[in-house]
């Protein structure tokens, strides 16, 4: 493998982590969806580049799935949901952006340390890829933890899933079946979550999970 192709793969995977950071601090709903779209595009680029360098043509299918579903269908429908929920102009309050970013940096460092040590014998491209993928997963989880709005939690979940796809694409010989099933499972999760969002909204007039906790009377 040439040095250039490694660098390009590195660039895309690192770009995915960077976009994950952008997701962390974005507090506008519409901006959040735009960045998620960017996330999906970078993912499909990264997977496409993997397909090209690995000469694994089925990965193009994965990249196409990522592009169509995650960069087109899901953002569009999320936008529709937001409009129907009338939260597209909402500004979410995120406490402690600076701290969150610092924690995110710590998580990236952690995943580097873990992955680079655990996969010492693997080929360098896969190693870097796996480390970046774990970072993306952890950042997605961090986003789910720090957000209160159900829609941004959904986006956090889907960015987490993008990290999984990146990992799957980086490992050589991963059958396409797995990727398709992962994509579909996310789509189903998206549908289910969307339905739930509407049900929650109907019942409580808000999608702020904070209000749900207060409704339960258990919020501390």
């Amino acid at each position: 493998m040439g040095n250039l192709s490694f660098d390009i793969a590195h660039l895309f995977a690192g770009g995915l982590v960077l976009v994950s950071f952008m997701l962390l601090y974005q507090d506008r709903m519409s901006g959040l969806i735009n960045i998620f779209t960017l996330h999906a595009v970078v993912l499909s680029l990264s997977v496409g580049w993997q397909a090209y360098t690995q000469r694994a043509w089925h990965l193009f299918v994965t990249a196409a799935i990522a592009l169509i579903f995650k960069a087109l269908i899901i953002p569009l429908s999320l936008r529709r949901i937001m409009v129907r929920l009338r939260i597209h102009r909402t500004v979410e309050i995120i406490g402690g952006v600076g701290v969150t970013m610092l924690v995110g940096i710590g998580l990236v460092a952690l995943s580097m340390v873990v992955m680079l040590r655990a996969t010492a014998a693997a080929d360098p491209l896969a190693r870097e890829d796996l480390a970046f993928a774990l970072s993306v997963v952890l950042l997605g989880l961090l986003m789910m933890v720090t957000r209160r709005n159900a829609v941004s939690q959904v986006i956090g979940f889907m960015s987490l899933e993008n990290g999984l796809i990146l990992a799957a694409a980086g490992a050589k010989g991963m059958p396409l079946v797995v990727e398709i099933s992962v994509a579909f499972s996310v789509l189903i999760a998206f549908i289910v979550i969307g339905v739930f969002l509407f049900r929650i909204r109907e019942r409580f007039d808000t999608v702020d999970v904070h209000q749900l906790d207060q409704f339960r009377g258990e919020y501390r």
Binding site: S111, V113, V145, L212, D213, E218, Y219
Partner: protein, 666 residues
């Protein structure tokens, strides 16, 4: 060959369990099941006795873990414990042919009794950690079902709960012990024996084994379930649980510590000896305070387990300092006491069961005068009392005397700690022996002598002939083992040799059935001589009195300080018997409180004296633990009511924590 006999017999016992379920409701079920159990136990007893000196046999069955199977092995140690278990098992089954007729709910006892016997036998022959633990747990659970046979009494339900908790805790400790000593090649005992352990492991395994086997055997402070569970179970089951199941725990301890762990470190014996000494004294002190006959016997099992552990601890000490002959003497003493205790403790439980069925009372304060109504039971019970009090010429004396002989060898040990500790433990042993005698004077005197203290005691009648036969066989065995101990010591020789590499000198060649533990010049004991002397002097005394005094047998009023009182309540009671010791040690050892409620002058109501006795182990150990668990549960309860973000954060923190561990792992 023998091992196959054992495994088939265990199968037969399990089949008997199934048969008992199938025969639920039939009147003859009880007799048939117990007769079958008795027959199978006799077969197992034969296998055990004939195998005592023979070469170890192994067998493997394709049960249990896939590709590993279950391994079984019958060596000298297993054969000895097989003998102990099935001797009592056969007697208890025979006793139950008669006793079982009084059982109100036989279907709650019959299926579990053979299963319990099968479980104990399986523990003894198991040769890998997996089958050992499965058999151990099977034994615990079947005996738990038997403890709960009369579950409509709230007290018994509590006993069952405490027993189950302690049994699970013990199994957990043993599981971790086996996990620690497991060889790289697996859990088979042969592999564990061959493996070398890193230096910190054996000590930890010893501690875990003491917790696991000790909680089953009843080492203080893990004894709390015994005094609850033994009175709750039917009497023949109590005889098995107290006489035999605690010995299975001793087997577990000996197997792990003497056989599997390799050479002992010197400090092991410090721990075992101290625990044994404390257990012996605390057990008998608590026994003295009890008025419930079966609970008294249960606490006495605790004492005897202490004596056995003193013998084992001495053996560890001598083995650590490479004195194999002294180690052989101590181990023989301990194992002989295992046998002796199983015999006389079962005998005493049989007697207590006979009293219970005949009067419906376990409380000694409501008994009395039973020697006139149940003379044969009283005689057998008396033999058991003398034997357990370690009085010659019965068997209890021999094993305790041998233990003392081993203690007298302790100055030859080169460790100063042990030089000081062992005589102190000897003092504790002597104290417990004396207190045991006092305790059984109380048990026999208050139950069988004097006048009946209740109508129930007045109506008592002699028990059935099956029960009597079982009791008399064991009473005779107490005497035989006391008069000819050489026979039993020599039978133990191969067991001891396989564990500490040496044996006691052969005793059977010595004339007049003497036993000489070390050398003739040091000490020897002749039970036959003592027996002949006692019989002879008693006959001569009786002859002289009847010749020179009076021929007539005269029954007069008991001496009553010159104040004849018709009420039997004025007799010396069990609690008045225990009062001096309660006054001396009560505050410290039992937290005893005496409260006198004296009516004001002119008030006609009766005065009251209330005495409360507490088992300190509950206050010091178990109540704080229970509180801690409750507190922890309360705190964890809040986890049920977290927010969605709270749960997500938990997952997140757990994941990051695990990644940190992976990152920091060397």
């Amino acid at each position: 060959m023998s091992i196959m006999v054992v495994l088939w017999s265990v199968g037969a016992l399990l089949a008997t369990s199934v048969l008992a379920v199938a025969m639920t409701g039939r009147i003859a079920a009880s007799r048939i099941v117990y007769a079958l159990c008795c027959g199978v136990c006799l077969l197992l007893l034969g296998a055990g006795v004939t195998h005592l000196g023979a070469v170890a046999e192994t067998a493997a069955l394709p049960l249990g873990l896939p590709w590993v199977g279950a391994h079984f092995r019958l060596d000298a140690l297993s054969a000895f414990f097989l003998t102990v278990i099935n001797l009592t098992g056969a007697a208890a089954s025979f006793y139950a042919i008669g006793y079982g007729a009084h059982e109100q709910h036989p279907s709650r006892v019959l299926p579990f009794f053979p299963a319990f016997l099968a479980g104990m036998n399986l523990v003894i022959v198991a040769d890998d950690a997996f089958s050992f633990l499965v058999a151990w747990e099977f034994m615990s659970l079947s005996s738990w079902a038997l403890v709960l046979a009369h579950h409509h009494v709230a007290e018994n339900r509590r006993a069952g709960f405490v027993y189950l908790t302690m049994a699970s805790f013990g199994t957990l400790a043993l599981l971790m012990a086996f996990g620690l000593i497991a060889a790289p090649s697996g859990y088979a005992f042969a592999a564990i024996r061959a493996a070398t352990h890193s230096p910190w492991k054996p000590g930890l395994v010893l501690a875990l084994t003491l917790l696991g086997a000790g909680s089953k055997a009843g080492l203080v402070p893990l004894h709390i379930w015994l005094p609850l569970a033994h009175p709750a179970a039917p009497s023949h089951v109590s005889a098995l649980m107290s006489g035999v199941m605690t010995k299975v725990a001793v087997y577990g301890f000996v197997r792990i510590v003497f056989d599997l762990l390799g050479p002992p470190a010197w400090w092991w014996s410090l721990v075992v000896l101290s625990l044994g000494g404390v257990t012996a004294v605390m057990g008998v002190l608590y026994a003295l305070m009890q008025h419930d006959l079966k609970r008294l016997l249960a606490y006495h099992s605790v004492e005897n387990i202490g004596i056995i552990f003193i013998g084992l601890g001495l053996a560890l000490a001598f083995e650590a300092y490479a004195m194999p002959s002294a180690a052989a003497l101590s181990l023989t003493a301990g194992l002989l006491h295992v046998f002796n205790h199983s015999v006389f403790k079962s005998l005493l439980f049989f007697g207590a069961g006979a009293v219970l069925t005949s009067t419906g009372e376990r409380d000694m304060e409501h008994l009395g005068g039973l020697i006139h109504r149940m003379p044969q039971t009283a005689f057998a019970f008396l033999v058991g009392c003398i034997a357990i009090s370690a009085l010659p010429p019965f068997n209890g004396f021999v094993s305790e005397w041998l233990t003392f002989q081993a203690i007298l060898l302790s100055p030859q040990l080169s460790s100063w700690g042990l030089k000081f500790l062992v005589p102190a433990v000897g003092g504790l042993l002597a104290l417990s022996a004396a207190l045991a005698a006092a305790c059984f004077v109380k048990a026999f005197g208050v139950t069988f002598l004097g006048r009946p203290r209740s109508e129930a005691a007045e109506r008592g009648r002699e028990t059935d002939r099956f029960s009597l036969a079982a009791m008399f066989v064991f009473a005779a065995l107490c005497l035989v083992a006391g008069i000819a101990p050489g026979l039993f010591i020599d039978a133990l020789a191969p067991v001891v040799k396989s564990l500490v590499g040496d044996r006691m000198p052969a005793q059977l060649g010595i004339e007049w059935l003497s036993i000489v533990p070390i050398a003739e010049s040091r000490s020897s004991y002749n039970g036959l001589l003592v027996f002949v002397f006692i019989v002879f002097s008693a006959l001569v005394a009786a002859q002289i009195i009847h010749r020179f005094g009076s021929h007539a047998l005269r029954r007069g009023p008991a001496w009553d300080c010159g104040y004849p009182d018709p009420s039997p309540a004025t007799q010396y009671t069990a609690s008045s018997f225990a009062q001096p010791i309660r006054r001396i040690l009560g505050g410290v050892a039992f937290g005893a409180r005496e409260r006198v409620d004296m009516p004001a002058p002119g008030d006609a109501r009766a005065a009251r004296l209330d005495i409360t006795i507490r088992d300190r182990a509950w206050d010091v150990l178990y109540t704080p633990i229970a509180r801690g668990v409750e507190f922890g549960a309360d705190q964890l309860n809040q986890l049920h009511f977290l927010t969605i973000r709270g749960y997500l954060s938990l997952v997140f923190v757990a994941l990051v924590g695990l990644l940190f561990v992976v990152a920091a792992w060397p």
